[in-house]
Amino acid sequence: MLEIIFFYVAATIALIATVMAMTRANAIHALIYLIVSLLAVAVIFFLIGAPFAAALEIVIYAGAIMVLFVFVIMMLNLGKAGDARERQWMQPKIWAGPALLSLILFVELILMIAEVEGAISGDMVTAKQVGQALFGPYVLAVEIAAMLLLAGLVGSYHLGRRYLEREQ
């Protein structure tokens, strides 16, 4: 009973925070809201018995990726002018078409998940089980993910280096 209430609360927070993130003019504000949303989703993970996923969500997603975003935005130094520009770009009249498309998409997704039956019992899937799965059947995927991260590393280093050199 309690889980369900906590779940609804967390879900609401996540949704509201996301909406706010999408509509802010200041990039840092939007990012903070986004971090809140991610933390709410982590709470949902805890509630359904996936602590490893929840920890990862907090540590990596909110803690690393979003921080990376924050660093880059601060490096770009947009300032008050950036905020004004954002507000100017986000006029109400441009919301009509995208809102319609999103609505249609949402309706379709609802239709697809409408007949799903089942409940989540809340039994924990421990980190140990996840680790066994990772080094068992999914070891190839781990290797490929590692290569992907290496590629991302090299790429971002290369793309960012020129910028720094020029700035100096």
């Binding site: 078409g97 995208p98 498309l101 999103s102 249609i104 998409l105 379709e108 697809m112 409408a114 799903v116």
Partner: protein, 615 residues
């Protein structure tokens, strides 16, 4: 000598090739010597071969090589020599030599001297191949060759586009006949299995009965070809226009040799024609009709060469008439004598044209008797032979034709009567020409008379026109013997006197002006009839309206490429879609994002429809 008869067409062909290749570097003298000499050598060789043959009259074949070998069709390049071949070859090389000699003076001032002789020699070579051919395919080769040379020579002065048009007309009209002939060759090959003439006649006799359908069709198709080449109804319209070429060309091609190719063809394949009496009747009727039509037309012409052209058409009609009634020997005999006097007449007109600064209208000439005596006597003798006045060459040949026509059962009398009317008209128009041009007041003065190179051929031809009637052509072995019976004597007397009456009528109208026909000519009926006759009985007009104009209209329609327009539409529809769709590639990322979401929506919609509910 027998084995070397292939030299006879070879010499003119080599000379033609040499003249074409080296036309820039030869002097006029060399060109003349090559051009005239090659035909002269051919004439000499023909003479030797002829003497050989007359000593031992055995027909023989000289086979050079096999032309092609496909399945069981293997025609060869082989020449067949018999009496008919000898007659034709003598005419071609003999008269040809004289005309070549004449041309050296006539074309003296022309810039394309070498080209002229090259074409003329090529023509002689092709014509010789035609008459010497052993099989119909080689004959067809010669047939086409003379057609091409006719085109090249009629359009010799191509700078004037009207000459080119006349040449094209000649080529296209004879082509129609050639197509019919080709169909005839196909039919003969598929039915008889060979195109070798002598073999073919043997097989035909064993395979077909008299009056069968197949020989009738084959002969009518061959007749189609002959009609085209010999300018008979309905394919005669090209010959008057072909007078646009140089006059010696008209003499050689359109009087003595090419137009007689049709007559030769029918005579050579007489065995086939005897199997189809209906076809022979058609030949005779076509010949007679053409003869009369052309004679009426010649009466109303005022261009000297057109009169002679229509006269040629008319005389060949006589030859067809002869062939049609089975008088093969008479037809060939008339071919030979006609070659003599028609060449004479044409060369005479060439002399007149040459000396009167290219004047063609006879009513602008007159009184040339004193200034140009050689030409005057040439014309006199030539016209006398044409009109078949007694003791000239034309008299013997035409008389033979009319007598044999009379002897044909059932229709002979009508054919004979038609021939008589034609003879009367022939006499009238030919002496009209003589009296108008040579007597009376001189409207144009000639600035010179003919040189020896023109006078000698004219004189020789005069001689031949007078004594040619006494030649006996060695074709007894070729043709079946005709009926030997003699018609009643009154028939002969009438035939002899009609041309004389015609000459007297012409004298009265055009010379002494005693008989006044001007009222008759200027009356409404008279003038209408006269105009109708002058334009060749409207055949040209008919063809123009019926064939030429619709064809040009169709060409103009096709020129705007209507079929391509359909493909143009396909292309432009493609381009339209390309234009519309390329609008979506505008490089604006947010549009792309929206389209991704849109695509996702569509995919999900498809997924909803297609997959069964697994949830």
């Amino acid at each position: 000598m027998k084995e070397m008869i292939w030299l006879i067409p070879l010499l003119p062909m080599l000379s033609s090739l040499a003249l074409m290749l080296g036309s820039g570097s030869f002097s006029r003298l060399i060109i003349g010597v090559l051009g005239v000499g090659s035909v002269g050598a051919a004439a000499l060789l023909t003479l030797l071969t002829g003497l050989d043959f007359l000593a031992q009259p055995e027909p023989y074949t000289v086979s050079l090589w096999t032309w092609m070998q496909v399945a069981n069709f293997s025609p060869g390049i082989s020449f067949y020599f018999d009496g008919l071949t000898l007659v034709m070859m003598s005419v071609i090389t003999g008269v040809g030599f004289l005309i070549h000699l004449f041309s050296t003076e006539f074309m003296e001032q022309d810039a394309s001297y070498a080209r002229y002789f090259a074409y003329l020699n090529l023509f002689v070579a092709a014509m010789l191949i035609l008459v010497m051919a052993d099989n119909l395919l080689l004959l067809y080769l010669g047939w086409e060759g003379v057609g091409v040379c006719s085109y090249l020579l009629v359009g010799f002065w191509y700078q004037n586009s009207a000459n080119g048009q006349a040449a094209r007309k000649a080529f296209v009209v004879t082509r129609i006949g050639d197509t019919a002939m080709a169909l005839g060759l196909f039919l003969l090959f598929t039915s008889l299995g060979t195109l070798d003439i002598q073999t073919m006649l043997g097989v035909a006799n064993s395979k077909w009965q008299v009056g069968d359908l197949m020989p009738l069709i084959a002969c009518l198709l061959l007749l189609g070809g002959a009609v085209g080449k010999s300018a008979q109804l309905p394919l005669h319209t090209w010959l008057p226009d072909a007078m646009a070429g140089p006059t010696p060309v008209s003499a050689l091609i359109h009087a003595a040799t090419m137009v007689t190719a049709g007559v030769y063809l029918i005579a050579r394949t007489h065995g086939l024609f005897e199997l189809a009496p209906t076809a022979m009747m058609v030949v005779a009727v076509v010949g007679l009709a053409t003869s009369l039509m052309a004679a009426f037309t010649a009466l109303m012409q005022s261009d000297i060469k057109r009169i002679l052209a229509y006269s040629t058409i008319s005389q060949i009609g006589y030859m067809f008439l002869a062939l049609g009634v089975g008088a093969w020997t008479a037809g060939i005999f008339h071919l030979m004598t006609h070659a003599f006097f028609k060449a004479l007449l044409f060369l005479g007109s060439g002399a007149i044209i040459h000396c009167l600064h290219h004047e063609h209208n006879i009513f602008k000439m007159g009184g040339l008797r004193r200034k140009m005596p050689v030409t005057f006597w040439s014309f006199m003798i030539g016209s006398a032979a044409l009109a078949a006045l007694p003791m000239t060459a034309g008299f013997f040949s035409k008389d033979q034709i009319l007598l044999q026509a009379y002897q044909l059962p059932e229709y002979g009398v009508w054919l004979w009567l038609g021939g008589l009317v034609g003879a009367l008209l022939t006499a009238i128009y030919s002496f009209r020409l003589v009296f108008v041009v040579f007597y009376g007041k001189a409207n144009t003065q000639p600035d010179k008379d003919v040189g020896w190179r023109m006078a000698v051929p004219l004189s020789l031809l005069c001689l031949l026109s007078l004594i040619g009637g006494y030649f006996i052509i060695p074709v007894q072995a070729v043709f079946p013997l005709s009926t030997d019976g003699h018609p009643a004597h009154w028939v002969e007397y009438v035939s002899i006197s009609v041309p004389v009456i015609g000459v007297i009528v012409a004298y009265l109208i055009f010379y002494s002006k005693r008989l006044d026909v001007s009222r008759l000519v200027q009356s409404t009926v008279g003038s209408r009839l006269g105009d109708f006759w002058r334009i060749g009985w409207g055949v040209d007009y008919l063809y123009d309206r019926l064939f030429v104009r619709p064809y040009y209209g169709l060409s103009a329609l096709m020129k705007s490429e209507p079929v391509d327009r359909f493909y143009g539409w396909v292309v432009s529809i493609n381009q339209c879609f390309n234009y519309w769709l390329s609008q979506s590639q505008n490089g604006r990322m947010r549009r792309y994002l929206v389209s991704i979401i849109f695509g996702l929506i569509v995919l999900l919609m498809l997924a909803l429809q297609l997959t069964p509910e697994v949830f």
